[in-house]
Amino acid sequence: MKHLRSFFRNLLRLRQADADLDQEVRAYVDLLAEEKSQAGVSPEQAQRAARMELGGIEHVKEEVRDVRSGAWLASLLQDLRYAARMLRNSPTFALVAVLTLAIGIGVNTAVFGVAEFLLRPLPVPHPEQLVVLATGQNGQAATGRFSYPEYLDLKRQATAFSDLTGYQVDFEGLSTGHDAVQFFMSWVTGNYFTMLGVKPYLGRLFLPSEGQAPGADPYMVLGYLFWQKEFHGDANIIGRKVVVAGHPVTIIGVTPPEFHGTFYAFDTQGYLLFSTEAADSQAAAFWSKREAREMTLMGRLRPRVSLPQAQASLDVIAARFARQYPESSKTLVVHAYPEKEARPQPDPTDQTVLIAAIFVGLAGLVTLLACLNVANVVLVRSTVRQREIAVRAALGAGRGRLVRQLLTESMLLAVLGGAAGMVLGVLGARLMGAIPARITQLPFQTEFPMNWRLFCYGLGIVVLGGIVVGVIPARRGASVDLNSVLHESGRSVIGGRHRLRDLLVVGQVAGSLVLLIIAGLFMRSLENVVHGKLGFDPDHVATLTVDPHEMGYTQEQGRNFFRELLQRARALPGVESAALAYSVPFGYYNSSAVLSEIDSYTRPAGQQLPQLGYNMAGTQYFSTMRIPVLRGRAFTDSDNQQSQRVAMVNQAMAQRFWPNQDPIGKRFKTKISDQPEQWFQVVGVLANSKYTSVTDENVPYFYVSLAQNYSAIQALEVRSALPPHVVLSELREQVRDLAPDLPIFYAKSMSEGLEDFNGFFLYRLGAELAAALGLLGLILAIIGVYGVVSYAASQRTHEIGVRMALGAARSDILLAVLRNGLWLVAAGIGLGLVLVLAATRVVADFLVGVSTTDPVTFAVVTVLLALVSLAACYIPARRAMKLDPMVALRYE
């Protein structure tokens, strides 16, 4: 208590306490002098001897201050005041340093903000317990869904989970009576919200007891944002009747604003029970067939159950399924993924974490470069300030105290830069978060509130930055040899070169080389992706996708609708050709099928059944897309429900199964969507193209006839001499005319579509982000090199004057200064090349058509960096060359 009181007393009455201390020490000196003069020394001598013996009044006072409680705070306040004064006195320095740090920290915070967003836990209690399950068959990667009977069995038998829920995202049409909108929704089991622990924002959510029988509980829960957007946040919405996919349902509640569903980063706009979708007699398969796998499962681990334990119990259950239901589950495996690694869907090849880590690393490099830059400037200042520091040391400031003072200044810079950087960072993250909304029609939710994770990260960066910026200069600055500095007769001793500062520049050049080369490799990849051979011609093709099932259309109604739409599209003026297909290349959805039997092909022992991607195509599809038919024929009107099932394969598929044989007439057996297995006969061979990913290269792929295989969702492709957006508005008109309530799923020119999520989007985003980081690194390196070379030159002003007076040619001076800088740049580039060879290995997986040691990139970047650095050295060197020797000699 007493201690606490003196703490405050010391803090509040510092001045008084200081005066008191001063008097006390002076009284001591007087007493000592008196003692000495009593011993017979003259009063003046006694006073002098007493002072000598004391060893400096200020020094003693400083030692006392250090032991006082609250001393650290008092000295911190003092240091802060002093630091603020120093910065005010050199506003240019302060501004440059703070801005540099703000950019460095801002970039880092922005990139981290995005990474944090991608890996943020779901806003539910104990999100770390959530696990997503997926099925795998025939040894394929586990990305599959579950059937309702499997769900019920797992829920009962998987005791590792306290609860297990099923959901499936979908697009559906919502009709409120006067108009229809398409919305992104989730079919769920009744316990979806209770398992997650989500509480209603308005009304109520589903109950675990609901949705257990066909047609039971026709209710709907709205997502908060959708409720705001479509219903303007109307609180009287509860009890309203709407129609979804042809099913009349009643709205019962709204989810809270922070909850966006379980298809991460997308905003689920509404929730309905599976029982509403599987209501009629056609949906009997949903309730009873084990192979009708339609739902993703998410479970909550019981406390103290680990993921491997849960996996072990799932393995046992899957093996039991395989024994009990061999026809549907012979090769079934069930795999458990932590929820964060299954976003938005389980996929073992998902590399979100790695990509996030790479970009956080690159941004970290930029931050490091910024800090090194500022450290350099602070270092220069601290050398200039040697005299001031020496004086303070002479007046009794301890070495630790001096280091603390210099550190406080750097920390103040870092905090100011950090605060500005955090603001920049949050803005930057929001900017990046807004990109998806521009290129995709999916409801993407991006929220970047200032949360504690972001704040702690920013704070950590600030502290680290402050240490980098401060410690190196502070350690040097404080280790001044008092005598040598104070005895210099006015000439600064600092000139010459400082190994440490040179090292910083070498590090900066190396760091920016690494950034630039990685950026260059990403740019080259993007180039390859965009200009790569697609295998089809996207120019002048408009695509429009609709799903009449969203309106509750039956297959018959759907077929009629699409037949009519196609006819009208073909009749439009300016239309060259039009065709229907199930999916669009690089579109939002696609399918694959397992080939169980193949004519004249024997599967090598131990190999899994081949699984291939496929599409359903109508007549004229290949001519519209300009995919060349190499052999045989394309689909015609004579391929119909009654005729032999036919297929077209690409070259890669023909090559794989029937090398050196004629593929025409060969058959394979497979299962297309929910139909039983059938034999398909090959009638044509197509040139290879890209299908689901821009990295597709010789991927085996086949097409079946759309007339023989129905899909509720279909894409219309229209090739026309007219601009695609003109054609699109015509097509919309036709859709509205045919089915007024049908929402348009997707309508874009095919070239625009290529920029979407599954197209160039990630490559472009990555390349642009990396390029921005590389550019920042380059700018920082230029500033660093320029700063150090021009400072070194200015410190050599006197020397240069002497050399010129002694007859040195101006070109010699130029070379001398240039050589100084160029050595550093050369060393930096050398170091950078070594580092980059290690760094590029990490990004190898994300490069397309370019090696990690791409000579073009390496050469261009190295030459660019060398030229720019040369310019940064040349300017100060030229200035040095133009010095008037007389002025130089009188300098200082």
């Binding site: 008097q23 006390e24 020490v25 001591y28 007087d30 006392v64 250090d66 032991v67």
Partner: protein
């Protein structure tokens, strides 16, 4: 000046100052001289360690300080032991006796 001076052990100075003050209130120089006298000149107390020690112990509540007049009518800051200071001295002395006894014993055993 005494021919041989020894560096004070950490914490010993505090104890010696407490001991010096146990004989009565005193100002800084008086304390320094008294400690020299008590240790027969073996320890000389420098102001650079005396004052921090005094102020630290004052904050701990072992000493209390007040301004007074010296023998020659000079203003000086005086220190005196508090109750807590007396207890502290007892504890410290006891501890010291134990330690020094043990060390002496250890050194004598051959």
């Amino acid at each position: 000046m005494p021919p041989e001076q020894t560096e004070l052990l950490q914490g010993t100075l505090d104890m010696l100052i407490l001991k010096a003050l146990a004989l009565g209130e005193m100002h800084g120089l008086g304390i320094a001289r008294r400690v020299e006298q008590l240790t027969r000149g073996t320890f000389q107390v420098k102001p650079g360690s005396l004052f921090p020690s005094l102020h630290r112990m004052e904050e701990q509540g072992w000493l209390s300080a007040f301004w007074g007049e010296s023998e020659n009518n000079r203003r000086a800051k005086y220190y005196r032991l508090t109750r807590a200071g007396e207890r502290r001295l007892e504890n410290e002395s006891e501890r010291w006796r134990r330690i020094s006894g043990a060390i002496t014993h250890a050194l004598q055993t051959s």
